[in-house]
Symmetry: C2
Subunit: 244 residues, 2 copies
Amino acid sequence: MVNAAILVIGNEILSGRTRDANVAFLGGELAALGIPVAEVRVVQDDTAAIIAALDALRAAYTYVFTTGGIGPTHDDITAAAVAQAFGARLERNAEAVRCLKLRYKDEDLNAARLKMADIPAGATLIDNPVSQAPGFTLDNVFVMAGVPRIMQAMFDTIRGQLRGGAPQLSRSLTLVVREGDLAAGLSELQAAFPAVEIGSYPAFTEGRSLVSVVARGTDAPVLDDVMAQVRALAAALGTAILDE
Amino acid sequence: MVNAAILVIGNEILSGRTRDANVAFLGGELAALGIPVAEVRVVQDDTAAIIAALDALRAAYTYVFTTGGIGPTHDDITAAAVAQAFGARLERNAEAVRCLKLRYKDEDLNAARLKMADIPAGATLIDNPVSQAPGFTLDNVFVMAGVPRIMQAMFDTIRGQLRGGAPQLSRSLTLVVREGDLAAGLSELQAAFPAVEIGSYPAFTEGRSLVSVVARGTDAPVLDDVMAQVRALAAALGTAILDE
């Protein structure tokens, strides 16, 4: 079974300063490629923490995608930590320097910016069409930027290299119902369709109790069957369906 | 050193359907209480995955806060998984049943809703002022709802029980500058103030390169010193400062 983990690197996520957007993007994109994300970890800008998480994840999952910590400042330590995790040398990468020269004049290519061309030996670069400083791939680990727009552009350049299983499809319906009234029927439905992952997500808006029922799996007709059963359940309970 | 981890439980976060909001909330609240969040994990609605993550985190950090998986449906398995992790019996909790009776008429208190009163033996309930179904505390683990409004209300009821260190304070300035031009100065500043965590976060808006410099630590005058140095650095580079 092909799967993935995401390792988010950055104190700003843990301190609450920044609300991560990369997990939601990657989770959706990877599911569509048939590479469900099975775990996410968020760690500090700390070499030991990065290495421990990376080693655990790269041993357990098909692919690991890291975000954050590959910029020019002192708190950008991801490339060095990944090199250390793999026992690889961190070296000035000539191709990465060429990428940086597309953006920066020679007099602007200072030591801090050149640090972004220090890449573990043996890695393959990931193009950065937005701001040139590249990410890289080493074994099953894809090291990408933390800024969402740059991360997404990098992901677009590696998408074709990823080998997934059957695409994860999903169907959803939102019912005007209290979750506890739906629970028994959903439980029976889940038992009847063990290959489908049925999720139930309550929300409360404008004084109404809503439940979004999500069915995920790889077989479209089966998912359509499940959703037909959800509609039948809603009809039996006399509950309205939204978002059709 | 007092610290914390957050364990987010839910397929909907990993699939990209839902963008988590609880980490940003808890990260900020806990930092203010002097309990910095050192790690986050997101796992599937899977008993083994929940137990493995919970056991690793509760051994490594002062506090663990879980979100998600305590509702009435078949995919809500957090309480049972936590009980198993602690080797505790999951039992119908009379106080939790009383909470549920505040919300539900007897005829609505079906098996699915009563499941929300199944709590590990030895746990202390966490009040839920929004929808009554309680969370619980067991040893250093706080089990809370995933719906942000409910999680936040639960957190308000436990805030007073938490024992933090010195509150983590922060200062920030946003400069109109390219990060690589600021990097050398920031690196010197970080070296001069090792007790302060200085972060540099680039953004690109309306064609301008911006960098937010964030200083975090426990000593307000020292943080003010650091930010004065950041202003001096900006002046030396001839860069404008926003958000003053």
